[in-house]
Amino acid sequence: MANITTLREAVGSLIEDGHTIAMEGFTHLIPFAAGHEVVRQGKRDLTVIRMTPDLIYDQLIGMGCVRKMVFSWGGNPGVGSLHRFRDAVEQGWPHRLEIEERSHADMANAYAAGASNLPFAVLRGYVGSDLPRYNENIRTIECPFTGEQLTATPALRPDVAVVHAQQADRAGNVLMWGIVGVQKEAVLAAKAAIVTVEEIVDELDAAPNAVILPHWVVTAVCKVPHGATPAYAQGYYGRDNAFYRAWDTIARDRDMFQDWMRHHIVEAADFADFRNRLRLSTGGEKVHA
């Protein structure tokens, strides 16, 4: 049965320095609160996997938490660059970042392979692309039936998967809907899983084919309202497009980034405190959760 606990406790007890973690959510349901907690606890030397690093990994990279990143599209969606990611790759700040670059189709297949307990994924991919020349993990395999040359890449098997969902019940069964990305595959591919949720309810009102993660495949469930903001949670709140745009300015400059992170995230007690600090710094009023 999933342990219903605080995010601080879940991150503190499950994510260790040097771990490989996958914090997934495809534009929707990005587990930002958990990312902040990793920053606050000063985790180091992480290998982070994510199809679209987004702001959540830009923050981890800039704060020096990351040794290596496995990814397939590293931009600020609808805005432009991830400046902390670029600074790490182009200038080695705050330290050199090792990257393993793949395509979306590859990573989606590799999560599915991990969830299936297979050592590698097979796909028709990368033909004519230079990516295999720079990533020795992208190899070819011959189909034993037809002789066709196909692409093989290693399964993704994170130590810990971290996802955000709309609801859990009191036993820790998790329900998510809308764009569900690769979250189910990431959770089933991982040794342990942390799920933050908008709310904990008495009963999940779910159709039989809804995306449910049964409590016995989830290690920890943590209630964190608005835990995906500035991404969105369908049925709860929209994407904070203004913040995605503001991030372009915040993250462009190293000092501004560090000051912003220190004031809003490192010195915040938790995600609710972060939201209050953000509200105050953008001219709003403090509210109590």
Binding site: G78, F85, R86, E90, H104, A108, V180
Partner: protein, 260 residues
Amino acid sequence: MPDDFTATEMMTVAAARALRDGVSCFVGIGLPSAAANLARATHAPNVALIYESGAIGTKPDVLPLSIGDGELSETADTVVSVPEIFRYWLQGGRIDVGFLGAAQIDKFANINTTIIGDYANPKVRLPGAGGAPEIAASAGEVLITLKHSKRAFVEKLDFVTSVGHLDGGDARARAMLPGRGPAAVITDLGILTPDPETKELTLTHRHPGATVEQAQDATGWALKVAHSVAETPAPTAEELTALRDLNARTAAAHRKSEAA
């Protein structure tokens, strides 16, 4: 006929026209998304738009800012997982047209969205591949839209992220690629299509107000020009109205979400 329109509007309209009604189209974010949704609002109401976030048959009323906006899933026929969209739908051969943007393109319509400079020590780190390598390989055909400039249209790519016609001729068929590859590149100056034999991009249309020389000057190689270059018909009043309404609804929706 309206005589007042911008080069970007002309590009979007020309790109939209390239999408036939009734096809299934895997849509990239940005310019391709604007063009595909304009097509749906005008001549192609039965186009099935598919986004890599898993939305199939989506009918957004406003343009999404990101590839996974809530608008896409709320208006979709169905939303599937990301592994499913790439495995069953794209690799499964269900996609007629892939609609892509690009940071850089070469004369055989190969695409770079990865780096400028050396891979180990890049001058500019771009976002990377996303879904494009497999869209470019597996979609029945590919439409590409980007603005014309010497920085974007280069003789040699620093990095081939997504395959076009490789080094031309029958190279795609020899590489056993499932799809036919790029069918047209639509820019703010005109339309380029691959030569039937060599597959080298050839300027076949220039937009109203643009000249062949402008297109040549904005291309980093000696641009091949068709014997007779047609003028792209100017946007119709209906097309312009639909595009401007779409942009206005999009701006209003994003203002509203920011005020909330």
